[in-house]
Subunit: 571 residues, 2 copies
């Protein structure tokens, strides 16, 4: 083995960890009521690896020889498991296709370079051989940014950056760290924390995603309201391109023309392989606390979040769930007893006396970091705004729970697939003035689409990531369907949601990227002229289309060619 | 006349306003001591317009016909004055060449479109005629982004955006305004202020620069530490490209691939003509105050600015001048008398008693905005940090003065040119860990370069624009020289400064852009691979090179071909 660990080949996360509901008494009744699904009766299971038909590797001897010459035998792998693990990301479409044994075109070889020089040799060898090169970080992508095109006839090289996992240096005076692109979230935070620093970047995929992946897909983290999205955090980088190494030195700001840094951000492997980056790092805060708040309605909660973002208060996160997601959260709570149970019931009684409709209740989490004095002051400022907007402070309990559970949600999808339901997420961002309409339109569009395909389904939403002029809305949705057509039905709903984003003045994606799945809407999102600029940039750097072809922009039409289980070849 | 006003054709700003020193008793002795120049004895004067030889317009009848057909006779202007005004920006090189009657290739026609549709017609007509198109906002550029290439053989159209000067709409809920690209700073602020809003963008050129120009050159403003650089402020935009209109809707954030918005920012006319933008706007603050502070040394002051930027304090600006610029500032103070004079002298005596070397004194300005409570708290936080770093609070007086004078500095260059000295500015940004060395290297490089060309000279600096990881250093320099070789000597010094920025881990420019002058260093700044990406992007959008050719990237070599008074043609 070469020391690089991967997620379960068939699902999210680590072997041995899974979502379970036995300790959550309200979960089964909730799912039964909402989508008519009995979670106590699993109807499926993940396949075993020997059930999977793995297409033969098409790696030729010449390219193999060059790769082995550069990296050594051990790090040029054609074993089935490695090739299967590197075929997909972890979208529900990926999970279903894996369960269904629908591997079409998978990487012919997985390489594990040790350093930038080896990356350079791999890139040059792949391009010289007219092979396809797909960089691979943690494998958590959910928009189809990792998979080879179905009709790909060239050799396919998956370049796993797992061995480039070090924090190389910290410039303590500037608050900058130079980190290798393959470092997973926990690995880089651990190396930074040891020296008293943090990057503060915590996407939901944190445990299984890498710095390079964050940059390549324009990631955001749970605390990005304080630390910035990955685009703000990334100050310099190195990228291996065919025949060249692009070097951007770390700069706080610059006015030297169109931003090359901002061309690399979001490039999803189409401009080359990111090998390392200079990122902003911060001293670990003296205090950190997440508090929970309740609001009587979504509308009031939304306004409160906006008011907080426009106020003098500095928060690390201000997030609110709609009534649907709030109800779902309550359903996943562990059985309460004693004081806790009593306290919860007392709060609900109090709210009812105040005239709240508990079915409309929305839960919010707001986070604070800094010196004790700073945190105390910000909490006070936020409390005033929350109260003004009809909300109430609940306290630390649910906040601590949120902090513990925040990286567990993706496990739920595998659990649901075992029980005949397909769930995934779609997120957008829009100006504050458009948020409520966008929300209403999207819920309506999704429910209509579910009805059209004859499925029970559920959709819920939270607001996260506040900016001066707007915020991110993050939708989670599921359809109960055990048929052969589940992916077509899922796609129908997903398409309706994406189109609603665009039609309601939102963007295709706030932080999941484009990949294959969102590409058909790019011309609607950034106008045909904008899409053309990206296309021409890719063509210029990669004229033969060797670098992760088909991602971000391709020839597929919205909702027809590509956004289906069976991707057509792009050429 | 068509209603669009311009700066003096021969110098900075408005006719009738000029720098004068009669009320500043310390100014003449200061200049005499530092560079041996007697400012009481002007040796030159700006030319009169009839002294200028204006090359004949090369506009052909066909293109003229199309332009007149689209805009009307009145807005297609070939008069000498219009063409001369649109030839240069306002760098010292521009001013000297104008004084010397060195007009080589100037626009053949100036057009004043009324709206985006007319801009589209101009762009398409110019490209169809294989003419050169140069967008023109306020004309304040100092890096050669406006001038036609000396050897240009095609027809040259200057597209003045002065009639697109409206705030079109305000989205009050989101804090966004849609503003036309040709709106000058005061015009757009006045329209916003009337409704209780501000954009908060105040570059030194504010009175004579436009929104479109700010975006096209990646401008920063005095208060950008609060409001953000123009890249942060600009959320959406429209740009006319050959045969297309690029539309980016206003979004707080997005992850849809490489950022097209960030390709337009800094594009300096090479990708098309920006016609309008959606920008963040803010409610006018309840209180605003600029306070002055003294530090015993530059080094201590730098550390204090960094500590402030890393603290919980939220300031709108934190700026410090080195001892040289502090001394210069004192020399431009008006004669003091009575209480003021007494107070100033008392402060200096106090500092001397504390052991400060007054020759090393550095003056700082720090600004605060918000509610009264917020301002009071931030002032207190800053006071603590300043005191910790050995500095002292001076108070409001100098701060108010700074606010009044901030847009007047550029007038000084014309005053100095009348007296045989060439002055201009160069700015950079770098990580905090590199700032002091960059400063030392740059002062040394400039002084060595001045010695090499045998000139008395002066260079001074301030820090402005703090970011998490670094800051902007802004140098102002002058050489006393009345010879025919003044521009060659000036270039020698300017080159030394720019090279020092690059060699000391800084960038070419923090907010002045690239133009013709900085282009030779682009490959050093963003690496050859980065420069190539920009070049290929330009070539793809504008294959025949009609859009402001030669700016940002060109074939000139550092300090040889292009960075001289006499630009070579690029092709």
């Amino acid at each position: 083995m070469n020391g690089v660990k991967h997620m379960k080949w068939w699902g999210w996360g680590v072997e041995g960890i899974a979502f379970h509901h036995e300790d959550k008494p309200n979960f089964a009744p909730f799912v039964l009521e909402k989508v008519g699904l009995d979670v106590n009766a699993p109807s499926g299971r993940p396949p075993t690896f020997d059930e999977i038909e793995v297409p033969a590797s098409q790696l030729g001897e010449q390219l193999r020889g060059e790769l082995v010459g550069a990296l050594g035998e051990k790090y040029v792998v054609t074993e089935h498991m490695d090739r299967v693990v590197h075929t997909f990301g972890k979208s529900v479409r990926d999970l279903v296709r894996m369960r269904r044994n629908q591997l079409k075109r998978i990487p012919d070889v997985v390489v594990y370079p040790a350093d930038e020089d080896q990356v350079r040799q791999v890139v040059d060898a792949a391009v010289a051989a007219d092979a396809v090169l797909i960089p691979f970080g943690g494998g958590s992508n959910i928009v189809g940014a990792l998979e080879p095109l179905a009709g790909e006839t060239r050799q396919i090289v998956s370049l796993d950056l797992g061995r480039l996992n070090k924090v190389l240096e910290i410039d303590e005076e500037s608050g900058l760290a130079r980190i290798q692109a393959g470092a997973l979230g926990p690995a880089l935070e651990e190396q930074l924390n040891r020296r008293g620093w943090t990057m503060g970047h915590f996407p939901d995929s944190f445990t299984h995603s890498t710095l390079g992946g964050w940059i390549a897909t324009r990631s955001s983290g749970m605390q990005s309201d304080k630390y910035g999205d990955i685009g703000d955090v990334t100050r310099g980088l190195r990228m291996v391109q065919p025949g060249a190494v692009l070097v951007l030195n770390p700069l706080p700001a610059t006015s030297t023309g169109p931003s090359v840094r901002e061309m690399i951000l979001g490039s999803e492997g189409r401009l080359g392989v990111i090998t390392e980056a200079w990122v902003n790092v911060h001293r670990l805060p003296e205090e950190r606390v997440i508090l929970a708040y309740f609001f009587p309605t979504w509308s009031k909660g939304l306004r409160a979040m906006q008011a907080i973002s426009k106020s003098d208060a500095q928060v690390i996160v201000a997030r609110i769930s709609d009534d649907r997601e709030t109800a779902f959260s309550f359903s996943t709570q562990k059985k309460q007893s004693g004081v806790k149970k009593y306290a919860t019931e007392a709060i609900f009684k109090l709210l009812q006396r105040r005239g709240w409709d508990l079915d409309k209740l929305c839960m919010s989490f707001i986070g604070f970091e800094g010196t004790k004095a700073h945190v105390a002051r910000q909490k006070q400022l936020v409390k005033e705004i929350v109260t003004e907007h009809g909300g109430m402070v609940v306290g630390k309990g649910p906040g601590a729970l949120y902090d513990q559970k925040k990286f567990d949600t993706p496990y739920l999808r595998d659990f649901l697939l075992d029980r005949g339901a397909a769930a995934d997420v779609s997120e957008t961002a829009a100006p504050y003035s458009k948020l409520e309409t966008l929300y209403d339109n999207t819920i309506a569009a999704a429910e209509e689409a579910m009805a059209e395909v004859g499925c029970n389904g559920y959709i819920m939403c939270h607001l996260s990531h506040n900016y001066h002029s707007g915020a991110c809305l993050y939708f989670t949705f599921a359809i109960a369907d055990d048929s052969e057509q589940v992916l077509e039905k899922y796609d129908h709903v997903k398409r309706a949601i994406q189109q609603s984003f665009i039609d309601s003045h939102g963007t295709l994606s706030h932080h999941h990227g484009v990949g294959l799945e969102h590409a058909p809407w790019m011309a609607q999102d950034i106008s045909p002229a904008g899409e053309r600029m990206i296309r021409e940039l890719f063509d210029a750097v990669d004229p033969k289309g060797n670098l992760n072809p088909g991602k971000v922009v391709h020839e597929g039409k919205p909702g027809i060619t590509v956004i289906s289980a069976d991707h057509e070849t792009v050429d």
